[in-house]
Every structure is written in C-alpha cells, then in structure tokens.
Amino acid sequence: MRMPEPDAAVIGRKPAIVAALSAIVPGEGVIADEDALKPYECDGLSAYRQPPLAVVLPETADQVARLLKLCDSQGINVVPRGAGTSLSGGALPLADGVLLGLGKFNRILDIDYANRCVVAQPGVTNLAITQAVEEEGYYYAPDPSSQISCTIGGNVAENSGGVHCLKYGLTTNNLLGLEMVLMNGEVVRLGGKHLDAEGYDILGLVTGSEGLLGVITEVTVRILRRPPAARALLIGFSTNESAGQCVAKVIGAGIIPGGMEMMDRPAIHAAEDFCHPGYPLDVEALLIVELDGTQAEVAELIERVRAIAEATGAVSVRASESEAERQRFWAGRKAAFPAVGRISPDYYCMDGTIPRGRLAEVLARMQELSREHGLRVANVFHAGDGNLHPLILYDANVGGELEKAEEMGAAILKLCVEVGGVLTGEHGVGVEKRDLMGVMFNDTDLDHQQRVKCAFDPAGRLNPGKMFPILHRCAELGRVHVHRGRLPFPDLPRF
C-alpha cells in the first residue's frame, strides 16, 4: 500500500506553515513537536502509521474555513480526523499534510423534541447523543461498536452502521442536516430540521465520503422513541447452512428484527471464554435475534421466530427473560473483537457485504482460504443485512504474517464481490481497500466518482490517497470526449 509521494518542499516549509496555522488557531491549538505528534500517527487501522506534518485543533467553523482556505491556497494537504476510530485508515495522516482534529467541537447545540432531532457539533460522541436524550425516552439509532468514542462527525464521514441498522438504517438514513466547510473555505448548509433536499442531495452524497469532500462542522440527526420492549433470542445451530436458512426464513416471514447477528464456532468460544455470556459451546453457529416494539408485539414475534428456528433445525433456543439477560446475550457479541484479541496476538478485521443467501457458501470458501494461508479466522456477522466481519488471526511479530493476513483479507473481499456483494459494508474504503476498488468498479465508474471530488476540491488537497487507487487531475477528468456526431441507429423507432 503506497501513499502519494510527500512533497519535500511543503515539509521544508514546516516552520512557516506552523506559524500560519497558529495565527488562525492561537495557543495550544497547533501541535508541531515530533513527540506530541506521535499519538496522531494512526487511527483504528494501526498497521499503518505516519505522523502528520502538524496537527491543528480548531474550535469554530470560522477557524476551519480560514484553515482550509490557507491550505488550499498554499498547496498543503489536509486530513480531517474525529476520534480516530476508523478501521480503514480514513484518518491516516500524511507526512506533508496537516491533520485537522475536530475534538474541540464537542457541544450539543440543540435538543428539539418537538421536531425529534438533535443538533450537535461533529466531535460529540455517538453515545453522547443518546445519553443526552434518553431521559425523555429517546435514542439515536445507529450504534457502531465504537460508539463510546467515535464521533458523530466521523459517523457521517464513514456512514457508520451498527447492529440495529437492518431495521433503523445507517447514519445516512438518520441524518437531517449538516454544516460543512469546503476546501476553498466556503461554508455550506445542507438540509436542516426538515426532510429531503431542495436540489441535489448533497447531504446524501457527503455521507460516507470519508473526509474527501469537506469538513463537517455541525450535524443534525433525527432521534427516535425507544421501543417499550426489547427481547432477544439466542439460537444455536449445528451447521452454518441451517443458521443461514433461519435468517432467510425470518425475513421471508415478513419479520425485520431490531438486530440479527451471527457468530461462528471460533468467535463463540472466544466470546464465551472472554466474558461468559452463557453461549452454547456445542454448536457451529449462533444467532442473536432481537425483537423490539410494544410488549404484545415482542411477545408475538419471539414466538414466531422461535417456531421458525425450531423448524430450521436449531439445537438450542433461549429467549431472554429479563433486561439483564438480554444485555448478557449481547455482551459476548459486542466483546467479540477484544475476545478474539485475547486468543491471538493480532487480528485483522474485514468488512464485506454479501447477499444473505450466499452465506454458507462464503463461510465454506473462507475456511478454504484459511487453510491455504495457514491463518485462523473467526466470524462475526451482521446476518440481517449480509455484512461479514471475518477476523483474521495473525502475529505481527512473525515475519510475513501481516502480509499474509492482508493477502487473505483481499481474497475474502474479492470473494464477497464475486458472489454479488461489495468490498465494504460500514468500515469504509480508506487506504485499506483503496487498491481493491477496481474489483468492483471500472475506470469509467471511478472517473464519475472522482469528478464529484473535483466539484468539491479541484486541487485534491482533502484527504488524498484515500478511496481512489489512482489520482487523476481534475483538468484531465473534465475533458469531454466526443466520439461521433451521427445517430448510430437509423432503424430506431422515432416519434
């Protein structure tokens, strides 16, 4: 994985650049000292590290605007960063780039129950939004596993999901408005407390754009009433096939659970050893199916799903009888990553999506890949929406293992695309899957995407080296290729 060649001339101008940044953000808002830059050298994808040229921590949108304008005019790259929890290297710094941290944008600005929305600064954590409204019985639906620390601005940049997005949607489906600063320093407001765009849906376009289009300075999200009841079923299967069939039958029966998660044998054992949630250990696959709604609805749906599970050959079915038990069912799933971290020195978390019906086949082929590469793999899986998280176990201290893990990861993602799925369901392309974009898209597809980038940031200063395998100049992309001036199908019916 190669990043764009750093510009030695920019690095050489560091003192002047730091002075110019400090003129905009005075005091401790600019970090330039090498030791102090160290904590910013990576995000959640810690295999890649690169200290930035400098870190700047603005506090106002006006400062962000002036910073971007400065960097744009002086040819300096900028990498935006929220809490740095990206698993795809979205916030990986550049040696010649300024890292723009939004951690000081940490205030909730408006809680509007009448319009059922919250306006927050981008550095507010995902969980803090729910905490701010839960006393009134509300919550913010998308709940990525990192919700304690990940920020709402980062969620917008990555279009984050979570275990409840089958029923309640991703960030993009829960977002109402944004304030965003463009690379040229212009501030635009998108959406608000109303629904839908008046013109192009730039709000939708920016969501999941991985910090390549603008820097978010304010976010408006909708909040939902917490359902009065939620219960979960813990269902064990002796084969992955029957677990996959159960998932298909639940959906086929018209039931959209609040969450539907699956774990394979290695993941079940790792989780049980780690936090003892009481998972059955004599099964190959475990489903957690959560039903939410009113008491009557949940009671009814629990019985319907139980019947489907039993008819699909489940070897164990348990329904949570208390809130504590429901939480315990989830505890193992939510701790799956650290649990796997305990059985292996390192693990590499993948994030492909597949059509649900291909699950058993994909898991079988993943086992083959595991044997071929000589690396173990544990699977946790957002079964409801086909989003796989294979965890490839490796030891970075063993020469060549990281490379082998990356190779196997790429093979898994290619497999996902081959069966009709995609490279990334919720973690983003970043640097990690950048060079695999060609597996899903041809050059024409990617050129159309890069021209979107050109509309926002023609010089390509914002987060370069992420998402696109090859960077084209906007002037080159903008050229119009006219092939011929004759209508090529004279026999076409014309009226």
Binding site: L182, G199, L205, E297, G420
Partner: protein
C-alpha cells in the same frame, strides 16, 4: 415538435446520449411521462424515452432487493412485490392525477429521479433511502454504475443519493436496484375530528412522540376532507387528522388501543383496512387537489412542528388551502383560483424554521419565469453547478430542469 428517441436497452441509451453530445442537441429525459410539467420546462428538440427499459431484471424476496430497468412501471413492480407480501416501503406517490399524466404510467426510474415519497416517509425513509444501486449514462455519453444489490454498502461515494432527486439532469438512469420490505400484516387509522391546523399539527407531534410508531401522520382541513372519496372521511363534515398504525396484527390492535387512550380527550373515529388504505392513497398523491386542475400547487418541506405556523404566515399573504403530511413536515398547498404562483409569499412564509418549497403545478410560462425549485445560497448553487459539470459538462440532459444553467 420534439422527436422522441425510444431506446430499447442501455447501450442504445449510451449511443443516443453520445450522439446528442456530439451534435450539441439537448435531450429531455422521460420515463413514463406520468408527471408532465414537474420542474422547469426543458427546451430540447429530442426526448430520450426510457419507458421501454421496462424489465424486472431480478427480484429476490429473501434478499429484500429488486433490480429493474429504469422504465419498469411501478404498477408492475407493486404487483410483483404484493405476490410475495412485500412492498416499496417509501410508498411512492402517483402524481399523474395531480399533474394530468396518463394512469399507470409512472416508472421506478421516474420516482427515484424525483425522490418522491409518500406518508410512510416519516418511518421508513425516502425513495433515496431505498435506492441502493444504479446504472446510468451521464451527459458525457458514458455508461457507469454505482452501489450494488446489498443494503449495507459504503464502497465509494453514494451516487444513488446524488442521482435520486436529480430529475434526470446528471444521468439517464438505465437500471436501478431498490431495497424492498415486508408489507405490513395489518393497518388501522385513528381519526381525530374537528381540529384546527394548529391543534392538529400539535396532535400529530404528540402522536409522533409516543412509542407507538405511527407510519402516517396527516391532517386534512375541512375543505380538503370534504373532497375525500372515502365516505367515512367526508361524512364528518369537518377537519380530519389521521394517524396510521401498521405492523403485525396483535401489535396494531395493541397500539391502536394505547393511542386511543392517549387521545381520549379528543373526538375520534377509526378507519378499517380498505377505507384506511384509500385515505392514505389520497394523502400520498395529494389527490384532493386533482379536483382543482386550474389551481397552482406547491409542495413544502418544513420542520414538522412548524407546519401550521408556516401555513398561517403564507395565508396572511395569499389565499390557499393546505394538506399536511409527515406530521406537519410536508405541506401541499393549493393557491386560490387565479393566483399565478406567489413564489415570494410562499417562500417568505417558510421564515426562520426553514425548509424548501417546490412549485409542483403551474403553467409552463410561469414555471419558466418563477424559480420552481427553492433558490440556493450562492456557494451551494455554485457547488451544484460544478457537480453538473462533472456529469454533463455540455448540458445535454434535461438542461435547466431544476435550475437555470444546471
């Protein structure tokens, strides 16, 4: 007279746009032609007719996904989905009666290109939220794709969102994939009777703040309710405020009881299956306003709690009749007979709460003169124009449909 190019497949669409690009001939992009006169008039000598890309390419009920040619008719899609107890959850409206288009002509590509959603938008999301994959031809005469056939996908920019609601100005859609969902087993509607607009929007907000998951929250003031074809609605001879519950049978019964208790302070009635369905179809299509073909119609999106006050501000300037959906967040406004557009009064009425107003139905000369889509701040307008430059630098596809020069 415009010449219509009827395309049979995506390759022909690409060739037609490439020809238009070379010849410098703008194209008016048309699906089923069910929404004539929506948007600014496009001056083009040729129409690009996508209505024959009408195949349902694949439908996998257990994957909750359907892929179809952009010209696939919505009525065919509804039928295929209903056979498996599924539906397009965003409840696409049929604006043909309102806009004078032919019946049963609306296409999936057309509804996505306009990002039109019905009453369930408040619970299930908009058309754009269900639009997961796309193939199309940009104004560069190049075929491209984005997204896929799975819901959870963050691979590259979400171009489906950008193309949804772009009214054919960025690309001619050739094939689309949409998320589908199980249709509700049961539905029931609670009617609150005789509320004025303020009280009604307050009641709708109150319902939205309960945990009973209403999937429709609408208000028909007396003169609109009187136009309803649902006898149970028209018979009340007054305003009707409607709250819809959908879901598993037991759950609907249970929530309906709780909701009735919540509103036991107000006179109420309830609608059963067929009557409920008919009422929500009317709300979805703004059908009462189809009865007044000579009146100008606006569609406003506002913060829901500001619905009634927005209408009051507009009424102080210009005579009009309102129909509220989305808990007050969507307002259909029919201006009194003889008023041309009153764009400034309508948009001034949005006031501090904000939102936007679309001129849905007006004479072509009026739509040429008056900003049909909400005018944007300069930086945002310039950004939109640059996005257009990327897809359609020579202004071949529906030029000026949304904004002049875009």
């Amino acid at each position: 007279m415009a010449e219509t190019l009827r395309l049979a497949n995506a390759e022909q669409v690409r060739q037609a746009v490439a020809w238009a690009l070379a010849a410098g001939e703008p194209l008016e992009v048309v699906g089923g032609g069910s929404k004539p006169g929506l948007g600014r008039p496009v001056s083009a000598r040729h129409r690009l007719d996508l209505g024959h890309l009408a195949t349902i390419v694949s439908y996998e009920p257990e994957e909750l996904v359907l892929t179809a040619g952009a010209g696939a008719r919505l009525c065919d899609i509804h039928e295929a989905l209903a056979a498996r107890d599924q539906e397009l959850a965003f409840e696409p409206p049929d604006l043909a009666p309102l806009l004078g288009g032919p019946p049963d002509a609306a296409t999936i590509g057309g509804i996505l290109a306009c990002n039109l959603s019905g009453p369930r938008r408040i619970k299930a999301g908009a058309a754009r939220d269900h639009f997961i994959g796309v193939k199309g031809v940009s104004g560069r005469g190049e075929a491209f794709k984005s997204g896929g056939r799975v819901v959870k996908n963050v691979t590259g920019y979400d171009m489906s969102k950008l193309l949804a609601g772009s009214h054919g100005t960025l690309a001619a859609l050739t094939e689309v994939s949409v998320r589908v969902l199980p249709a509700a087993e049961a539905t029931r509607t609670l009617l609150l009777l005789g509320l004025d607009d303020d009280a009604a929007v307050a009641a709708l907000g109150r319902a939205a703040r309960t945990p009973f998951e209403a999937s429709g929250l609408a208000h028909l003031p007396a003169e609109v309710a009187a136009l309803s074809s649902v006898p149970e609605v028209a018979a009340h001879r007054g305003a009707v405020t409607a709250i819809r519950l959908e879901g598993p049978r037991e759950s609907v019964a249970d929530r309906a009881q709780s909701l009735a208790r919540e509103f036991s302070d107000l006179p109420s009635a309830s609608l059963d299956r067929e009557a409920s369905r008919a009422l929500w179809a009317e709300v979805r299509d703004a059908a009462p306003f189809a009865a007044w073909p000579d009146r100008v119609v606006w569609r406003l999106a506002v913060p829901p709690a500001a619905g009634a006050e927005t209408v009051a501000r507009i009424k102080a300037q210009v005579g009009c009749t309102a129909l509220y959906d989305w808990a007050g967040g969507l307002i259909w406004l029919a201006l009194d007979r003889g008023i041309e557009a009153a764009a400034e009064s309508v948009r001034a009425g949005l006031g501090a709460p904000g939102g936007h107003a679309l001129l849905v139905r007006a004479r072509a000369d009026v739509r040429r003169r008056v900003p049909v889509f909400q005018p944007q701040a300069p930086a945002l307008a310039a950004l939109s124009a640059r996005i257009k430059d990327g897809f359609d630098p020579k202004r071949i596809l529906n030029p000026g449909r949304m904004y002049e020069g875009v």
